[in-house]
């Protein structure tokens, strides 16, 4: 007893702030980068803090944010999901087809698309777990199937999406609240500065991500990603945790597709494809290790904002538009590799090779 007390007193008490910093170091780095880029952007563009610019930068990042969140939940379990892009395409095509049909109404359509997202993720998870196959290959194959289904639903770009749906997700809060406030003009008020998509993001975080993250299942996903054998030994249901991670990915990808639909007001079975690789880049930018077991969506969200901001900086710095992709590529390469390079963080050469 006395020894225990002795040991306890010899351990310096860590301040909560310090603990927070050491636990979230990578995420804080990403947010610092984001802050620097933001300041640079404000310096270059005087109109940066105006309602239209704020709204459009949120809208431009939002699909990628949700795609990144989809990838994050799987990467935490040390898996990978190459079907994120095709599921986005699929839900975009499905939404445009069902909206055109009009039978389900707006809420019904959204629920149906989310359900299909869950189904896609469930299929991935079940095949990976019970087929005992590697995630990268399984999702490569299901990606082909899902984009086939998307093409089946929408062979040519088009379809009909109600304007109201698009406005609800992509306009400013002031525009949405205007009918409620009656006489009083909301233009110029605080609501003008809040994009509807930001509200959507907060809602998704509060209703979908946080409950999952705080649940037993969410904890299991981290445990499995960190050390599958140890997790199994501690009584974690490894199979269920892995399936849950892929289902979460399906849900987030479906949300991404729903947002893309609101943004483009049409369906296109090929629009989502680019998001597969971009989602991986964003996850890494956000400080989630591809080896699993750590990280979260907070970093991913920051990572997804980095790309459009770089684009905007290049634009306002009057860089030749032809050189933009090169600079974009260079910055991504640098940011991603600097974040992921392990030679800087590991002490033992043998540990490097794991």
């Amino acid at each position: 007893m006395t020894t225990a007390i002795h040991i306890h007193s010899s351990v310096p008490t860590v301040s909560p702030i310090r603990r927070f910093v050491s636990r979230n170091f990578r995420v804080l780095v990403t947010y610092s980068i984001l802050l620097v880029l933001l300041l640079l952007n404000i310096q270059l563009n005087a109109k940066f803090f105006t309602p239209p610019v704020i709204t459009s930068s949120f809208n431009q990042s939002m699909t990628l944010i949700f795609a990144g969140m989809a990838q994050t939940s799987v990467v935490i379990s040390s898996g990978i999901d190459l079907s994120v892009g095709p599921v986005i395409s699929l839900s975009n095509s499905l939404a445009s087809a069902v909206f055109a049909d009009g039978a389900f109404g707006m809420i019904g359509t959204v629920l149906l698309v989310l359900l299909v997202g869950v189904l896609c993720g469930l299929i991935n998870g079940l095949i990976i777990v019970y087929g005992r196959l590697q995630p990268i290959i399984v999702t490569l194959a299901t990606a082909s199937v899902y984009s086939g289904v998307a093409l089946f639903l929408r062979p040519r770009p088009g379809g009909f999406v109600p304007r109201l749906y698009g406005d609800l997700l992509t306009s400013r809060l002031s525009a949405i609240l205007q009918p409620l406030s009656g006489e009083q003009k909301l233009t110029g008020s605080i609501f003008d500065y809040i994009p509807a998509s930001a509200i959507l993001l907060v809602l998704v975080l509060l209703v979908v991500w946080q409950p999952f993250r705080r649940s037993k299942l969410g904890l299991w996903v981290y445990a499995v990603g960190s050390n599958q054998g140890a997790a199994y030994m501690s009584g974690v249901n490894v199979n269920r945790a892995k399936i849950a991670a892929y289902v979460m990915s399906g849900i987030f990808a479906a949300i991404a597709g729903l947002f893309l639909t609101a943004q483009t007001l049409s369906g296109d079975a090929t629009k989502g494809g680019v998001f597969t690789l971009q989602s991986i880049a964003v996850v890494v930018l956000g400080g989630t290790s591809l080896f699993g077991g750590s990280g979260g969506v907070a970093g991913t969200i920051a990572g997804a904002f980095v790309l459009p901001i770089i684009r905007s900086i290049l634009f306002f710095a009057r860089i030749d538009p032809l050189q933009q992709p090169l600079w974009e590529g260079a910055v991504i390469l640098l940011a991603v590799t600097a974040g992921a390079s392990r030679i800087l963080t590991i002490k033992n050469r043998l540990n490097l090779m794991r």
Partner: protein, 335 residues
Amino acid sequence: MAVSSNTSDNTGFGLWRWFNNLERQQRSVVIAYLMIIVLVVLGSLLVTPNFASPTFLIKQLQQASFLGIIAAGQMAVILTGNIDLSVSWTLNLAAVLATSIAGGQDSGFIPGILVGLGVGVGVGLINGIGVAYLRIPSMVLTLGMNALLKGMIVVYNGSAPKFEQAPPLLSWFATEILGDIIPVAVLFWIVISIVNYVVLNRSALGRKTYAVGNNEVAAYLSGIKTRRVLVGAFVLSGVMNALAGLMIAGNAGRSFNEMGEPFLLPAIAAVVVGGTSILGGSGKYLGTVAGVILIRLLDSALNIVQVPPAVRDITFGLVILAMLFLYGRAEKARE
């Protein structure tokens, strides 16, 4: 991971017994080749009687050789437990530079080719050094390289694309069928395949490649210069991608943007369908060849029937899944 399940089963006769006594890896290669035969038979019964004709199959091999060259490089990288996602734009940059330097003239052929292949070596070196020495996960690094290379092409082309037409000699290499029997492109693929096969199966370098993929720490502690092996694999992949880019440009008669996009995922699929473990350390080169032919035949069968792209994608995915279930499954876990 290369567990040879040598549970000798002496029941049955002849071929069946031989098949049962094969190692797991060899068995998957045999299954892949059997699938090719099944596909050819099905194709000639259901698609068109021409499917089994030599002219048609030779044409298929010629088309398959581009994918085959890429897959040869990709396999080396996958064997070490890594992946090369920079296929598309490495191939594209090599082709764009080669055609613009050659300027459509055979006199510019050699410089064009050399610069094109130089791109492959350069990209491979950067990828390899990044993965082996800086320890950046290959998936991340090669993905970033891909974005960078894409930007380089846009800058190089400027507002108007540079000269895109392939020199006649390059087209000859990619499309000529010698004596109506053997396409030059297939000859290239065969030579590369023989070298690859011999290196992987009969040389120290090949053994080292498998060793690194199996357990890099153990390989390192046994005195293998694992980092050099990794760099070598990525350089091979880069050069193969560049070579394929030149061939594809020759085949199409010109270089164009996004010409490499349709090759990345099929190349990975071909390697895996051929029985190579995506985790590295096990797989047979002959299986990769089978995987390439399989994917090519499947693609053209679906092409000829003129099914909608939707059905094509779905079938493609389902066939890969089916092949995985046949032999890609891990041993039942005993955690």
